[in-house]
């Protein structure tokens, strides 16, 4: 215990984890020392979540060994995790959520220290956050919830955080807040803490990490200091070669008549890919939901639906978790294959098999449970569901959240092909790179459309300019 300061917080020796025949993690050796900030990258299904769950004690390894410097359990050793899917209790207040993971808060009057502790932690990481520790979590926005979760991860909680695992912590934060977090991570590591940082935003990984580990198919394929990596090298190591940015195709002239127009000014023509952009939470999702609800009826369901919806919030309004992959795909096309009100099983299976191949869903059998798929593949199923319906308009509400680069490229290609065949896409995305794939972009600000960009005008600068309100002297 003399070299406590420099001893690794956690050491993995050839750790492996199998789920039945699936080798989720196939022998990983890794040591995380105080002061380390490790960037963990890999496409969906590479074993990142499994590795994280081994380190934080959520799973025990099938073989190999995991050693903690203090005590035998992850929690005793000061290992905390902040997960990608929000894992707060929405019915409790912010301070009460801290109590869940802080057992030392006891006795009457525990609320005051809980409020103080969470507020201090929030203030330290996100100055000027404006979150009330007495607010119930379900009254907070998604970004605020994520901030609370991160603050709980870094809070002392009786001992001290020695290793904090952050799984896609910035996916629902806007750029300013994300910068505050990155700055805090750097401070935390400089003070001798350790961080494992998982993100699909390469820029962030390169900014904070001093070491990058690339996972592929359950193995570490590269582990080097950040300076020794280039972005292209990193993407290559992950096994997916980013396709060259599509050459500007110019404005496609072969667009059909206008088939969507809303009071807000949102419009789309047949075969057009229309993007919705702007800062998160400025009314894009609400505009799409209104459009969808106005074009579909709660009472009648016609033989050919007018619009199809691809959900971004998979657990909430996407997957049917108890159903198989096949059922999850075919639900939108049941009416077309039905005969006298009965489902045509063969037609249903054909539809699912056809989309499994076309969109590349990674499974042996479409009759497997949908939850057996990784997040990115679940998202592909949702795309397949929308595209399998004969709807002429497809509405997409930030569908690429937490999806890996390879899947994204597949889906982009699919969307372009379907658009060329005359389908119209309305696509809300938080990532500028995706919006640039569109034929026309509406930028939202304060629940109104602040700009409409077409063709060569669709650039990051123009979108940013339209997203931010410029202060004018009145």
């Amino acid at each position: 215990m003399t070299d406590h300061k420099s001893a690794p917080v956690v050491t993995l020796l050839d750790a492996a984890k199998h789920f039945g025949p699936v080798r989720a993690l196939d022998g990983v050796s890794l040591a995380v020392k105080p002061g380390d900030c490790i960037g963990l990258v890999g496409h969906n299904g590479a074993g990142k979540s499994t590795l994280v769950n081994l380190i934080n004690g959520g799973l025990s390894p099938s073989s190999g060994e995991i050693r903690f410097s203090d005590g035998t359990a992850a929690l005793e050793a000061g290992v905390r995790s902040v997960f990608q899917e929000l894992s707060l209790c929405p019915n409790l207040t912010v301070a009460e959520n801290l109590r869940i993971s802080h057992k030392a808060l006891k006795g009457p009057g525990w609320r005051r220290p809980a409020r103080v502790e969470i507020l201090q932690s929030l203030d330290r990481i996100f100055p000027a956050h404006g979150i009330d520790p007495n607010a119930e979590v379900d009254t907070l926005s998604i970004a605020e919830r994520q901030m609370v979760e991160i603050a709980i991860g870094f809070a002392p909680r009786g001992t001290a955080a020695r290793l904090v695992i952050l799984d896609e912590p910035t996916s629902s934060l806007d750029a300013g807040i994300a910068d505050q977090l990155l700055a805090h991570i750097k401070r935390f590591c400089a003070d001798g803490g350790a961080v494992v940082f998982i993100s699909h935003m390469m820029g962030e990984v390169f900014e904070v990490a001093n070491r990058i580990i690339v996972l592929k198919d359950g193995r570490i394929v590269a582990e080097r200091a950040t300076a020794d990596f280039t972005r292209q090298g990193l993407v290559d190591a992950m096994g997916h070669v980013t396709a060259e940015t599509a050459d500007a195709e110019g404005i496609r002239q072969d667009l059909g008549p206008e088939i969507v127009r809303t009071d807000q000014g949102l419009s789309a023509r047949k075969g057009e890919i229309v993007g919705l952009s702007g800062l998160a939470g400025h009314g894009q999702a609400a505009a799409l939901a209104r459009l969808y609800l106005s074009r579909s009826s709660s009472w009648r369901y016609g033989r050919t639906p007018d619009v199809a919806f691809v959900a971004g919030d998979r657990p909430r309004d996407g997957v049917l978790p108890l159903w198989s992959i096949l059922r999850n795909i075919s639900i939108s096309a049941l009416r077309q294959g039905a005969r006298r009100g009965l489902v045509d099983r063969h037609a249903e299976a054909d539809v699912a098999a056809q989309w499994k191949d076309r969109i590349g869903i990674r499974t042996d059998d479409v009759r497997n449970q949908i939850l057996s798929l990784s997040g990115g593949n679940q998202q592909k199923v949702l795309f397949a569901r929308a595209l399998a319906s004969p709807a002429s308009v497809v509405i997409m509400d930030d569908p690429m959240r937490g999806v890996d680069v390879g899947t994204k490229q597949d889906v982009y290609a699919m969307i372009r092909a379907e658009a060329a065949r005359g389908r119209t896409f309305l696509w809300y995305s938080t990532e500028t790179e995706e919006v640039c794939q569109c034929d026309r972009v509406f930028v939202f600000r304060n629940h109104e459309i602040s700009a409409e960009l077409t063709g060569a005008d669709i650039t990051e600068e123009n979108i940013l300019a339209a997203s931010f309100e410029l202060q004018e002297a009145s």
Binding site: N56, G58, A73, L75, S81, S87, L88, C89, P90, N91, L92, E96, N97, R99, I100, S101, K103, L105, K106, G107, W110, R111, T139
Partner: protein, 309 residues
Amino acid sequence: MSFLARHRIILPVVSLAVLLAATFYMQPRAMSYFGLNLLFNLAVPIALATIAQMMIIMVNDIDLSLGAFVSLVACVTATFLHDTPMLGLLILMALILAYAALGALIHTLDLPAIVVTLGMSFVWGGLALFILPSPGGASPDWLRSLMTVKPPFAPMAVVASIIIAVVTHLLIMRSGIGTVLRGVGGNARSVERAGWSVIRLKALAYGLAGLFGVLAGMALVGLTTAADANIALRYTLLSIAGVILGGGEFIGGKVSPTGAVIGALTLTLAASFLSFMRLSPDWQIGAQGAILILVLTARLIFRQKGAEA
């Protein structure tokens, strides 16, 4: 967030106040110490049963055996607790432990609580019939005098309701363990990741439900002085309605002990109110249901307004 959405307790309070005002308008003589006691007397066991149901709903389950369980407790109280107090006490404690074990079983085997408790309702009902095949028994004297005590200022029923509300509020809303129990309803996985044993927490929640179920049965016998194997069967649905009326939700760990007690009072009062309106008893159950739907509709409308704001 609107004011009403933030303070969920307001709607139950308003419902009770409106119903109380209507009752006093129909029958001004009820506005007295004696009248209030008569109106709310039977609310005490219902309030305790509602709290018991709330413990189960708090962890995202539902208990369909509560009425049968309270009946069984009433039978035990009127026989064993009266004749051989020690044995009676042991049986009641065993019943609480059985409830806790049921909670652990439901969680471990991942069984649907609705099915398990429905099955258990026949077990409890059978045991009750076994103990007391025909209505009878007698209330222990101390229990009888406890339930008919006449405190100054406010009648027993009102004082007891306030005590129940305060104690359960401290236990569920203010204490650390109560917070964690509500966390199980909100996001069991996150509680488990924080190092808690969810099995134990569920057993605790069910054990608390058993405890309050036992108290409900005892209070009932203290009021009626005798028991019957079917004495409290309608408590199952009354308690669920009480929890929901009091601002609770079926899932998500959103419960309010104070609201649950107020919900139980409202339901009891609704029955008296309908009698004052000279409504035939045949229609009363339907009318009670109508009141329930009315209140829930109001809540839904306010919530939607709150969401829009």
